[in-house]
């Protein structure tokens, strides 16, 4: 049984100027220890706002933020075991790299730091060791003074800063100015600055959005490694579904401040619960169909076998089929026959669009039919996904399309 580290319970938020428009709408969510969870959704859907509620910059209008079983609603950010990597890094331009990384620990009270570095006894022991190494006879060593403890703590902060910078592969950059660092390097400084505080939860708000593709892919991998090595919970925010797919243990798909679906990347890709999720997570075809009877479905004028869905006999349903799940077959074996309207080379495969009556279908295949050709399709029963017909389908459907880019 995995341990819940943070829980949002019916959290809602609306701003004073528009109290009736919830930015975050009744979100409930349990996040486990050491989990890499991603909030995924189009820009403006409330991802940053949700993070700000978790971090404590914004009080929810309703609901509770529970960390380790304790309600944290009224606890200020500095007292939460959470650190944030901000959307545009938010580094301190007047400090150098080392200064940025150290600022958190440096401004804590000494008593906090003594506990942070393992308690007074441990620090006194370290001071004693230093003296022994310097050649002071053991019986002559006096109890460490307040001044010596302070000095040792500062030394430990320095060490922690160098270690954090090493972890993000920025050793040697300690004395650089922030403005002299590239986007990718600034991003690493932001990460080092957060993890030096040993948070239990790290919030990352679109940390890779500003990086170019190659660097972004490297950082995806590195972040994932870092999360494993540190053993802390990452709450990651992105509007990029591919990024979410590659990095996350679980994904929370959001739209208009509402959680649309929560699940593993596979779940969300294969079993989208509604049109918005289906559209947002990769390209897909959604068609209106009729559930005939158990494991039988009809759409586009043909009848198909399907697997594992239970609806009323004769109920209208939405049928979801991913472009890569179609099988292109000779016309005589085909269940569906349509006319090709476009065929674009996409690197590995071709993206074919074809009209089947009124319905346009997208197909990923290795064949290269010409525009105007007839194309025959089949689909395996387990590739057919069914969703209940949503009432406001056209709205969310449209928004999903807009955000496919």
């Amino acid at each position: 049984m995995k341990k819940v580290i943070i829980e949002l319970k019916n959290v809602s938020l609306s701003y004073d100027d528009e109290p009736d428009v919830p930015i975050v709408d009744n979100i409930s969510l349990q996040i486990y220890e050491n989990e890499f969870i991603t909030l995924l959704g189009p820009s403006g859907c409330g991802k940053t706002t949700t993070l700000r509620i978790i971090a404590g910059f914004q009080k929810p209008t309703q609901g509770q933020v529970i960390i380790d079983g304790k309600i944290f609603n009224d606890i200020p950010p500095y007292a939460r075991p959470i650190n944030t990597v901000f959307q545009r890094y938010a580094l301190f331009p007047h400090l150098n790299v080392l200064g940025n990384v150290k600022i958190g620990l440096k401004n804590r009270p000494t008593s906090y730091l003594i506990d942070f570095f393992g308690g007074r006894d441990k620090i006194e022991e370290l001071i004693k060791q230093d003296k022994i190494n310097k050649g002071v006879a053991e019986d002559k060593i006096k109890k460490a003074s307040y001044f010596e403890i302070n000095k040792k703590v500062n030394q430990l902060i320095d060490e922690a800063a160098y270690n954090a910078l090493k972890l993000v592969k920025l050793d040697g950059f300690e004395n650089r100015k922030i403005e002299q660092m590239s986007g990718g390097q600034q991003q690493r400084v932001a990460i080092a600055r957060a993890i030096i505080n040993r948070p239990k939860i790290l919030l990352l708000d679109e940390p890779l959005a500003a990086l170019d593709l190659k660097l972004r892919q490297n950082m995806q991998y590195e972040l994932k490694e870092m999360q494993r090595a540190l053993g802390i919970t990452f709450i990651f925010v992105t509007h990029d579904q591919e990024e979410a797919m590659t990095m996350s243990d679980r994904i929370v798909v959001m739209n208009n401040g509402i959680i649309q679906q929560l699940g593993t990347p596979e779940d969300i890709y294969n079993e989208p619960v509604n049109g918005f999720v289906a559209n947002f997570i990769g390209e897909t075809n959604i068609m209106r169909g009729k559930y005939l009877y158990e494991n039988h479905i009809s759409f586009l004028g043909a009848e198909f076998d399907c697997l594992g869905y239970k609806f009323e006999d004769g109920e209208d349903v939405d049928v979801v089929i991913r472009p890569e799940d179609w099988d292109v077959v000779p016309l005589e074996n085909a269940k569906l026959i349509g006319e090709v309207t476009s065929c674009i080379f996409k690197g590995v495969h071709y993206e074919i669009c074809a009209m089947f009556g009124e319905q346009e279908i997208m197909i990923h295949a290795y064949e290269t039919p010409k525009v105007g050709d007839k194309i025959g399709l089949k689909v395996d029963p387990y590739e057919i996904h069914l969703m209940k017909v949503a009432r406001e389908e056209p709205v969310s459907d449209q928004e999903g399309q807009d955000n496919l880019e």
Binding site: F57, P77, I82, T84, F86, A90, L91, F92, I103, N107
Partner: protein, 279 residues
């Protein structure tokens, strides 16, 4: 520079040469000469003018100028920062309007404003006259005109808007998320101000300081009116010398001030490369 703009700038550059550079060259020349008025026929080359710098009256004027300008700048930093910070933190929709209102007095005539202030600082002023007329009493104000206080007060009132503007601009440039980052990393509100906000607005403080310091240092109207002869600043000495047609020593003192000004402007240029704090 683009050719077209280069040509457009010509009139101004010519203007600059005739009315700023040329006089400066003439003044640099006058420093080393001695003559009666502008009597070029009896012109003598000399270094005697520099001995004037050792004169007690000149030294006092320099001391007054620097001391009062520094005090004015310091007070303006504190007042200006408080006002700018308050405005930065406020939830007004139209902060620009507030800024304009703060700056509005700058657009009225400075002599008029200073004379009005001087009147209030007299023991018998417009207010006492008014009150005494109505109540048939004999109220007087303390006599402030002619004191250091009145001069500094006048300088601060006149020049503090030059401090508010750049500080406010530098504060507005601080991203909200930078402040949140400070809190996120465990800084208290106090620490956030001293360790993050203040250093990040230091550009504005430096720019503003020079904008207040320079006119305070070189001006002569405010000390003349509010100091009423008791407090002499270097601008008053220069004015006096030029009025008495003593152009040589006047030029020397004016050039010294000019050097200080140019030096300060280099600092502003270094600190605020894009000139972004001024507007």
């Amino acid at each position: 520079m683009n050719n077209k703009f280069g040509r457009l700038a010509k009139p101004y550059i010519i203007w600059l040469y005739i009315f700023a550079v040329a006089p400066a060259i003439v003044m640099s020349f006058l420093i080393f000469t001695d003559m009666e008025g502008l009597d070029l026929a009896n012109l003598k080359m000399t270094l005697d003018n520099f001995s004037q710098l050792g004169e007690k009256s000149t030294l006092i004027a320099f001391k007054n100028s620097f001391l009062l300008s520094v005090i004015t700048t310091a007070i303006s930093i504190v007042l200006g920062y408080l006002v700018a910070y308050k405005l930065f933190r406020s939830n007004f929709k139209n902060k620009f309007l507030i800024l304009v209102i703060l700056i509005l007095p700058m657009w009225s005539n400075i002599l008029l404003r200073t004379e009005a202030l001087a009147n209030i600082m007299e023991s018998n002023n417009i207010v006492t006259t008014f009150l005494n007329k109505i109540f048939n009493s004999n109220i007087t104000f303390p006599q402030l005109r002619g004191t250091y206080f009145s001069v500094v007060f006048g300088l601060v009132v006149t020049y503090v808007p030059f401090m508010i503007m750049p500080i406010y601009n530098s504060l507005e440039k601080i991203d909200r998320s930078v402040e949140e980052a400070a809190l996120d990393l465990g800084l208290t509100e106090m620490q956030k101000f001293w360790k993050v906000i203040l250093p990040m607005s230091s550009k504005g403080i430096i720019t503003g300081s020079i904008m207040v310091f320079l006119p305070s240092l070189s001006g002569f109207a405010i000390p003349k009116i509010l100091g009423s002869g008791n407090i002499v600043m270097i601008g008053n000495v220069i004015e006096e010398l030029f009025n008495n047609m003593n152009y040589n020593i006047g030029s020397l003192l004016a050039m010294i001030i000019l050097v200080v000004i140019l030096f300060s402007i280099t600092i502003v240029n270094k600190v605020d490369k894009e000139g972004e704090m001024l507007l």
